[in-house]
Each structure stands twice: as structure tokens, then as C-alpha cells.
């Protein structure tokens, strides 16, 4: 039998490398699943705090998604449509939380909005103390997750054909009407995909939360914090919570992908 050709060697090498890396990504998740099934992780004692953590995660990430939508959409639109000096810098600033280590983000939030932080005293005079509150969890989540949405929304807005907008303007549509009836529907899918991704990131947020908001069951202990705290005492509870998070993340990613599949095309 003749030796495989150079072309086949290339294919083999590529497949081997890809498989190796897929194993790296896939094996830990499979192991989590296997261990959970093995030790019947779902038969958990209810006092390990899982229910409160799930509830808290749902509530805080909902608020975060709302806040992100409210405050992120205008910024994304500005970045998509306007040009102004230092725009590059603004874009980098928006991207920064994505690359910043979450613990550093938490530290920065503490130093800025903590009781003794730069803006602590002004906030306190308004009656607001953030650390150790559920609000702080939302702030931390928004800080790290909003950039995902803003980035996607900006791309979505940029994808709306300017000609369509101009045509609508000719017909007399102004500002908000234009946005509501033309831009938004056309970029809807990209926005939704971005929001789902941002929400999933918020759900998984740990470092900033634990430093800025602290960890207390029912008030600031979201699911990732629970996993971290509980795995020393009750590893099965940690695995179960971890699995739930993996499942939710998986669902979020699939949803985001499905939403994104048509957003590149102008409909």
C-alpha cells in the first residue's frame, strides 16, 4: 500500500490537533456529568443553600439584563452611528471589562464605590451603601457583562443598511420613530444574541461579586459563589450546582447561536 499523500498527512495532523483540544474542553464537562450521575448529586440536602443561590442568580441577572439593555443600547447606538474624537478610546474602555481579571474588576469597584471608596461618601450621603448588598451584585455583574451586549448591539446597529434608514428619513421618520420602527427590528436578532451572551456572563460572574458584594446566602451568594463555598464541605452539592450552571450556559449559547444565524442578513 502506498504511503498517504502529503494532503492526507495534513488532514490527519489537523484532525489530531483539533481532537486533542476538543478533549481538553469536553473531558472536564463529561467528568462533571459522570461524577454527578455516579453519586446521585441531585439528591441534595436542601439546606446547602442551592435554592437561595438559584433564586438570587435569577433575580440579579434579570436586573443586570434590564440595566444592560437600558444603559447599553444608547451607548451601542452612539458607537455605531456617531464618530467623535477619542472614539477608539471609548471602544477600548467598553471592551476592557471583558479582558480584565474579574478580581481586579471587583477591587476597582470596591475602591470606587466602597464605603471608603472614592465615591463612597457621596453615595452614603444619598443613603446608598453598596458593599454587601444585592445591589452590589447587580453592579458587579453589569460591569463585567454589559460589554458583551454593547459589542453585539453595536455590530447589530452597524449592520442595518444606512440606505433603509435614509429612505425612512426621506419619508419623514425622525429620531425615535426611526429607531423603534426601522433600526431596532432590523437589528433585533443581534441585540437578542448579545443580551443572551451578556446574561450568561453575568450568571457566571464570581471574582468581582465576591470582592465587591461579599458572600452571604440569600443576599449576595449567587450560584458561582455557592459552588466555591460549598465544594469544601459538600462536593456533591457543588457538582450539582456546577452542572446546573453548565446546562444553563449551554442553553444560552445555543440560543444565542440560533438567534445569530439570520442577523447577518438584511431582511
Amino acid at each position: 500500500m502506498p504511503l498517504p499523500s502529503v494532503h492526507n498527512w495534513r488532514k490527519i495532523a489537523l484532525s489530531a490537533a483539533s481532537t486533542l483540544f476538543l478533549l481538553l474542553l469536553g473531558l472536564p464537562l463529561l467528568a462533571l456529568l459522570a461524577r454527578a450521575v455516579n453519586s446521585r448529586a441531585w439528591e441534595q440536602s436542601s439546606d446547602s443553600g442551592i435554592t437561595q443561590a438559584i433564586l438570587l442568580s435569577i433575580v440579579t441577572t434579570s436586573f443586570t439584563a434590564g440595566l444592560t439593555l437600558l444603559l447599553g443600547t444608547p451607548l451601542a447606538y452612539v458607537l455605531a452611528r456617531w464618530s467623535f474624537p477619542l472614539k477608539r478610546l471609548v471602544m477600548v474602555l467598553v471592551e476592557l471589562p471583558v479582558v480584565l481579571p474579574p478580581a481586579v474588576a471587583g477591587l476597582a469597584l470596591l475602591v470606587a464605590f466602597g464605603r471608603r471608596g472614592l465615591f463612597g461618601p457621596p453615595l452614603e450621603s444619598l443613603g446608598i451603601t453598596l458593599p454587601f448588598t444585592t445591589a452590589a451584585v447587580v453592579v458587579a455583574q453589569t460591569f463585567v457583562a454589559a460589554p458583551f451586549y454593547i459589542r453585539a448591539a453595536q455590530v447589530g446597529f452597524q449592520g442595518v443598511n444606512m440606505e433603509i434608514e435614509d429612505a425612512a428619513r426621506v419619508d419623514g421618520a425622525g429620531g425615535l420613530t426611526l429607531f423603534r420602527h426601522i433600526t431596532l427590528p432590523l437589528s433585533r436578532r443581534a441585540l437578542a444574541a448579545g443580551l443572551v451572551l451578556s446574561w450568561a456572563r453575568a450568571l457566571g460572574e464570581f471574582g468581582a461579586t465576591i470582592l465587591f458584594a461579599g458572600s452571604l446566602s440569600g443576599r449576595t451568594q449567587t450560584m458561582p459563589l455557592l459552588v466555591y463555598k460549598v465544594f469544601e464541605r459538600d462536593i456533591d452539592a457543588a457538582i450539582w450546582t456546577g452542572l446546573l450552571l453548565v446546562g444553563i450556559a449551554l442553553a444560552a449559547l445555543l440560543l444565542s447561536q440560533w438567534l445569530n444565524r439570520k442577523s447577518g442578513v438584511d431582511s
Partner: protein, 427 residues
């Protein structure tokens, strides 16, 4: 083809070397020590001195909450030579996870302290203020040793009539965050984010000294933490590890730990005679961490006196009377006996020598007054039949042993209570 072949070979060599690297590292004299976070400063200083004494040795530390370290050892199989835990429970976790060889040794003790930020935003003056509404209290998470000790402290306070269960409930309601290790607790307080935190006395280190105020917890209420250390069963350098343990237990190690505000496990030599001081006070001393003196006023104010009817024979006469006093058990507990944590029931080989102003002595065994054993209500009394004990009988304070048939041990004019240990077994 050839370059690809070379690349493939290099890759294989690289992967294999990664596998062999840890083995290579173990050949050199490196000690990997997993130690409780509270030991950070003391152990760093001790290891520097150890390395100076043992050239060619390297020490690598992994400091963290002991529960976290135990999990890394058991679940993660992390390579280590020594494990120094802040309590026996996490050491047991490691032992049950089959990572520990032999018997752990207690090498240092510690006590808890209440810390508040330097500007004391919640105006906390004492333990009692922790129950005030709105206090932001930060403690360690369940499972972290300092939290176990804190829970014990709160349990003790709940049982104390001066504080009560309501106090404990209020304090627990004030917890705003449960941190992963004790240093994160002290960090939150030093940053001023928390109003108060409960940490070890040794955690008030020079670098946070000017950012926090340490409010001592009354010794009679405080918990004593005991730290065990053990060699792992797969250590590459067990002899070196044992040398490190010996170094910790030596005077240099213990002195360094004491400098960092830990409590030494050394049990000092006690004087071979009891000195009688004519100062009108009862001297509580001996094998204790917290010797002190007592007056009648102290007994009335700081303890919970009780009144008991007693009947005893004195000579040919039967005496029936009533005494009011404080349990000897409460007084000895407040003095915090200095026991050897590695000896089973070390307390049961100790005894209290009661000495009167005239030199008369009687001995009470620990087992007589320990609630888990004899539980005898032996009193240090200051009132008889409702009125203060007469000075003419020798002094204002008297020892009362309700269970004794004869009154021989009713030492009057009590001036000294000394906790002593039975002679050790010859090696």
C-alpha cells in the same frame, strides 16, 4: 516530510518532559507546605530562618483557608510535604482522605479577637455591641476553622446568662459576608467596608495595625485555637519535613510565633513552692494561659454566684449551713488551662492546689469539677448563711466542697489556687 517529522518528535519530547518535570523538582530539597492563612507572616519568617540554617533547601508555601487546603489535598491530590491546619477538624478531613502519615502534632495555639476599622464606624466598644442593629459583621465561611471557633465562642456566650441566646441570634443576624479565609475577613475590616470582624489575635499584623483596632475578648469567654501539623504520606522529603516540625517546636520557632501574637505550646516550668502573698486577693496561677487575681468584688461582679446548702462533719460536730460562691470550674475555665492538645484527656491528669493564708493545703482533681466527669459544685465562697465570711476565720474567701462528708478540704482564708500537672511518665 522531514521538518514535520522533526516537529512531531520535538512535540513528543516536550510533552514527555512536562510529565517528568515534577519528578525532577522533587529530587532537590524542596518542602511544599500547605498552611492556614493565619500562619502567613510567622511561617514566612520561620522558613527564612530555617533556610538560613539548612543551605540548599527551598520552601514553597500554599497559604489558604484550612478547609480549602484540606480539599485540595484530598479531592485534588495536590502534592505537599506538610499540612498545618488551624484546627483539628480539617486535619481529620485530610487524615480521612488518606493524605496524612502518622500522628499530627499541635505546634501552636491562638485566640480570637474582635477587630473594627480604625475609625470605628459602628462605635463598637465591646463584644456586647456586636448585637446592635445594623452592625456589618464579617466572619469566615462555615468550615473555615476561625468560623468554627467563632461559633464555639457564640455558643458559650449564648449559655452565659450575661449574654443569652438573644445575643447570639442578633450577632448572627448582623453577618453580612462569609469569607473564604481569615485574612479576607481582616482585609474587609481594614478596608473599612465591614464594621467588625472576628479573627485570630495573630492576624492583627503590623501592616494592618494602623487600620484596625483590636478589642480583646474576655479570656473567660474566649476560645483557644489549637493548630496541628503533620507530614503527608507521599512526601518526597519526610526527614526534612520532620526537621521543619522540630524547628517549629524549638525555642526559636515558638518565640517567633509568640512574636506574631500566637500562643506557644511550651508548658513552662512552674515554681516548686507556692508563695503566700498577703495582699487580700486569691491568686489563680499554675499551668494556665491567663493567670489572674480575685477579690470578693470580682467574684460578685464578674461571675454567676450560686448558693448551696452543705452539711459536713467538723471534729465530732455536724455543721449545716449555706454558702454563696462561684464554681471553681468557672474560675479555672476563665484562667484558660494550658493543656497538651496531643495527649488524650490531658486535663484529667491535672489538679488544683488550694492554699489557705496559714499554709493549709488541699487538692481538687480536675475530674471532680469537670461537667463531663464528676461535675461537683465545688465553690469558691465569699458568703456564709447570707453574710460575708468573717476575716477572723483566716480570710474572706473559702473553698466549699458540698460532696465531702468531713470539712477537711474547706480551706479557709483561700489565697492561692494553682493548677498543676501529674508527674509525667518516664521515657
Amino acid at each position: 516530510m522531514k521538518p514535520r517529522f522533526v516537529v512531531a518528535c520535538l512535540l513528543i519530547i516536550a510533552v514527555l518532559s512536562i510529565g517528568l518535570w515534577p519528578a525532577a523538582a522533587q529530587e532537590s530539597q524542596t518542602l511544599t507546605i500547605f498552611a492556614a492563612a493565619s500562619l502567613t507572616d510567622a511561617f514566612t519568617e520561620i522558613s527564612d530562618a530555617f533556610i538560613a540554617d539548612h543551605p540548599g533547601v527551598e520552601i514553597v508555601f500554599n497559604f489558604g483557608g484550612s478547609s480549602s487546603l484540606a480539599t485540595q489535598l484530598v479531592e485534588g491530590g495536590a502534592p505537599a510535604d506538610l499540612f498545618a491546619s488551624a484546627n483539628a477538624r480539617q486535619m481529620t478531613v485530610a487524615q480521612e482522605g488518606e493524605r496524612i502519615a502518622g500522628k499530627p502534632m499541635t505546634f501552636v495555639k491562638n485566640r480570637l479577637v474582635l477587630i473594627v476599622p480604625a475609625d470605628n464606624p459602628a462605635a463598637i466598644q465591646s463584644l456586647r455591641d456586636l448585637a446592635n442593629g445594623g452592625v456589618k459583621l464579617v466572619v469566615a465561611a462555615e468550615g473555615v476553622p476561625v468560623r468554627d471557633y467563632t461559633n464555639t465562642l457564640l455558643e458559650g456566650l449564648a449559655a452565659d446568662p450575661a449574654y443569652g441566646e438573644g445575643y447570639r441570634t442578633a450577632v448572627i443576624a448582623n453577618i453580612v459576608s462569609e469569607e473564604e479565609n481569615v485574612r479576607q475577613v481582616s482585609a474587609k475590616v481594614a478596608l473599612g467596608e465591614a464594621d467588625a470582624g472576628i479573627v485570630y489575635r495573630s492576624d492583627v499584623t503590623p501592616d494592618i495595625n494602623d487600620q484596625v483596632i483590636a478589642l480583646p475578648i474576655p479570656d473567660r469567654l474566649n476560645t483557644i485555637a489549637t493548630y496541628p501539623i503533620a507530614i503527608t504520606n507521599d512526601s518526597a522529603n519526610p526527614e526534612l519535613a520532620q526537621q521543619f516540625i522540630d524547628y517549629l517546636l524549638s525555642d526559636i520557632g515558638q518565640d517567633t510565633l509568640v512574636e506574631w501574637n500566637f500562643i506557644s505550646v511550651r508548658i513552662p516550668e512552674l515554681p516548686s513552692t507556692i508563695s503566700l502573698l498577703d495582699d487580700g486577693m486569691v491568686h489563680i496561677n499554675g499551668q494556665l494561659l491567663n493567670p489572674f487575681t480575685l477579690t470578693v468584688e470580682d467574684l460578685r461582679a464578674n461571675y454567676a454566684p450560686q448558693t448551696l446548702d452543705v452539711t459536713y462533719m467538723s471534729g465530732e460536730d455536724t455543721v449545716s449551713t449555706t454558702f454563696t460562691g462561684v464554681l471553681l470550674w468557672d474560675i479555672i475555665s476563665a484562667a484558660q488551662p494550658n493543656l497538651n492538645a496531643d495527649v488524650r484527656n490531658d486535663k484529667l491528669s491535672t489538679f488544683i492546689v488550694a492554699t489557705g493564708s496559714d499554709g493549709y493545703q488541699a487538692v481538687i482533681a480536675w475530674g471532680e469539677i469537670d461537667p463531663e466527669f464528676g461535675n461537683q459544685p465545688i465553690l469558691v465562697a465569699f458568703e456564709e448563711a447570707g453574710s460575708p465570711i468573717a476575716e477572723e476565720s483566716g480570710g474572706a474567701i473559702q473553698l466549699v466542697i458540698p460532696g465531702d462528708a468531713r470539712g477537711g478540704r474547706y480551706v479557709s482564708g483561700l489565697v492561692d489556687l494553682s493548677l498543676r500537672d501529674a508527674p509525667p511518665v518516664a521515657k
